[in-house]
């Protein structure tokens, strides 16, 4: 819709329209990664604030979601890096060390099991899972969005699926 407007030479829509169209999708993306309602809310607000500041520069030649997604992933990574640092400090106080993802899976009830499994996957797998199975994008679009070859999209999805299959086997299925 936005790109069509740009092609017709029309001026960009009011920013409120961008917020209306994409805020829920960006919130869900943030929640998917951080698994915390308020962190996801903060990230979403930050993303749109930054997007607002830069709105005049956006030429609407590409899908605004691509643009917002990249800003969001950057914010999410910053939060996660900070959390990882905190966790590292916590772990150094705990002689037991971290748990194997498979052990964690064993402990969880069935309802949360898949969420925990997804959460234990590396971010590169989580990215493609979200874009494929939530956003429903095809490989070409995912490849553009993440700046990776189409073959890599496929192989990451396949590896993610196989890892999930393995972990679910340990947990005796869904």
């Amino acid at each position: 819709m936005f790109q069509q407007r740009s092609r017709r030479g029309e001026s960009p829509p009011p920013f409120e329209e961008v917020v209306r169209m994409y805020s829920d999708r960006i919130f869900k993306l943030a929640f998917y990664f951080v698994q915390d309602y308020y962190d996801a809310l903060d990230i979403t607000q930050d993303v749109f604030l930054l997007a607002y500041k830069n709105y005049r520069k956006f030429r609407f030649e590409s899908d605004p979601y691509t643009w917002l997604y990249r800003i969001a992933i950057n914010r999410i990574n910053r939060i996660r890096q900070k959390e990882a640092r905190i966790k590292k400090v916590e772990l150094s106080d705990n002689i037991e060390g971290g748990e194997n993802p498979l052990d964690i899976v064993e402990k969880e009830d069935k309802i949360n099991r898949l969420n925990k499994i997804i959460d234990s996957l590396p971010d590169v797998y989580k990215d493609v899972i979200f874009l494929k199975y939530y956003e429903g994008l095809n490989y070409k679009k995912i490849s553009n969005l993440l700046s990776i070859p189409i073959g890599t999209v496929r192989s990451r999805l396949a590896r993610a699926r196989k890892s999930i299959e393995k972990m679910m086997e340990v947990g005796n299925g869904l």
Partner: protein, 236 residues
């Protein structure tokens, strides 16, 4: 098609990415091989479980209005700064009229478009010479389209922080980098930081890692963006 090829194609089949001819071969093999059928069923189960879980991602209440409110607050902060700056300048202008300094007064007759003025905080105690300099800055500022993102010339433009912004412990510089720019230099508190673009991107995020509270300065070399003064959280 053999079992090995079949298994390599499972992902593409699941995601509807196989060409028609390959899809046909895949489905033909499916009819003849029980083991491969089981593999595909397992894969399909994972796919639908993932889709089901992702459908359950929550929505945030009043999300749109919260975002728009935050943007409005940000605008309000800017406009408050404009109002304060304009008020200070007008009051100084009135002071100058009374002391017959018409030359300077003329320069500040129309401060309407002033978006911010550096150093207006302590204007009252400035000498006439300094006030004149500040007024010239205002005038210069008015002539430009006032924006943190200069339109034409800037290859690297600063999005955040802007003058007067407060950063937290995770504060970072956000830059708009035009395609084609390979290298540029940031000056943070006078210290040079050379940056090289690994790939083309419209927005670049650079962690500041500033620990000390109080004011800090930031400049981009060979850019239209002027020096900005921002603050580390904890000021005042």
């Amino acid at each position: 098609m053999d079992c090995k090829e079949f298994r390599e194609l499972i992902q593409g089949y699941l995601d509807g990415e196989l060409k028609d001819s390959k899809k046909q071969e895949f489905e033909d093999h499916l009819l003849t091989c029980k083991k491969c059928r089981e593999k595909l069923e397992k894969a399909q189960m994972v796919k639908s479980a993932l889709q089901d879980r992702l459908k359950e991602l929550p929505s945030a209440a009043f999300l749109e209005s919260q975002i728009l409110e935050r943007i409005r607050r940000k605008r309000y902060r800017l406009y408050s700064a404009i109002a304060v700056a304009a008020a200070v300048i007008i009051s100084i202008a009135i002071g100058f009229i009374s002391t017959d300094m018409r030359k300077i007064t003329r320069k500040i007759e129309t401060p309407v478009n002033v978006k911010y003025v550096k150093g207006t905080k302590n204007l009252e105690n400035k000498s006439v010479k300094n006030v004149k300099r500040i007024v010239q800055q205002v005038e210069k500022q008015q002539k430009k389209e006032i924006s943190p993102l200069p339109e034409e010339k800037a290859k690297v433009a600063l999005v955040f922080p802007q003058d007067g912004d407060i950063i937290d412990e995770m504060g970072e510089v956000v830059l708009y980098v035009e395609p084609g720019v390979k290298k540029f230099t940031l000056l943070i508190d006078g210290e040079k930081k050379d940056l090289e673009m690994k790939r083309e991107n419209d927005l670049v995020f650079i962690p500041l890692n500033i620990l000390e509270d109080g004011p800090h300065s930031l400049t981009i070399e060979s850019s239209e963006t002027e020096e900005v003064i921002f603050y580390k959280e904890g000021r005042g």
